[in-house]
Symmetry: C3
Subunit: 140 residues, 3 copies
């Protein structure tokens, strides 16, 4: 019998960086006794992203930040929209260059992630925020 | 009872820039009386993108364009593929750096977008085009 | 009657570049007699991407590579994480800038791709790999 379930997760950030939340999604799947289906994650923000990446060592996380700091620097004189801070427009651009939206098959109660893949929330603002992820499962 | 419905939207562009079409998708959801499920949008083009972003003030939209004009400039001598115009290969690259594909949960008849999120079609060619978005809903 | 089916595809790469696999997905859809629904593709790797792009002429493919080689150069002194080779961290960044995750409506037994769209696996490591794509179909 097919069914669908909605849920919402909050990821609290402490400023820029990658925050893994694979465990929270797995916990919801286990607790809800989903066996086979499709889980969709939608991040409800315009200055943070969802990222599927290596359960990253600290230097991989630092390298991601350093790359984006060079590519989309804070305070870039290119940007007109600076009212909300010099990291605001760069945060929107970083979000546009990554994604806020993922759909992952679930089989035998587990997401079809690769061995090295984890789910991360990527905070692009300098200050911490409380970020909401809308979750949806459809399946058996 | 689960059901699924297909639809197609056309977004007419007048050259480069962001065109919001959140209202058109909401109208389809309301008209079709979808309550709970998953809506998927797939843009059927290789030189335009789908973007979830702030219901952007004019200067935010200009900043997005300016960033991409610097990152992937038209007429860049790097590119060999120039037959279809100097904005053609940059348009493909901009599309690859963003996305053409989104899936968003629908609950109580509304997409689970954040307060500041809207759905945009991002035209990457200099001239206007008629862009088709394939829509799919599965749910109740 | 709704049903869902899982599958796994392997795309063997011979180093950096775009490998089209639209035909393999179409073959699975035909063989399984799917008529209407949603197909989801999830690439189980952190140094390769999924890309929907023009059934690209060789020079378009070369231009994509050249753009990424300039944007995220191998051996960039910016990166600390170099243990697995000077193309490793650039491959993670290229993956983050594109995507590993797609959902495409299927109608009358065909994916709702545009006339010029094909599904590509984009290998970002210099050496060849065997890349796994998890597939899911839900529909009728």
């Amino acid at each position: 019998m097919f069914r669908q379930v909605f849920h919402e997760l909050t990821v609290v950030t402490r400023g820029r960086g990658l925050y893994e939340f694979t465990g929270e999604v797995e916990h919801w799947i286990r607790k809800s006794d989903f066996r086979d289906g499709l889980v969709t994650l939608h991040l409800q923000h315009t200055s943070a992203s969802l990222l599927v990446q290596e359960n990253a060592s600290p230097e991989v996380r630092r390298d991601f930040e350093k790359f984006f700091e060079r590519l989309v620097p804070d305070g870039d004189p290119l940007f007109e929209h600076t009212l909300e801070g010099e990291d605001d427009m760069p945060a929107h651009v970083r979000t546009a260059l990554t994604t806020v939206n993922l759909s992952i098959p679930v089989r035998h109660g587990k997401m079809a992630l690769g061995t090295w893949q984890g789910l991360f929330l990527w905070e692009h603002r300098r200050h911490g925020h409380s970020r909401r992820v809308a979750l949806h499962f459809i399946g058996e």
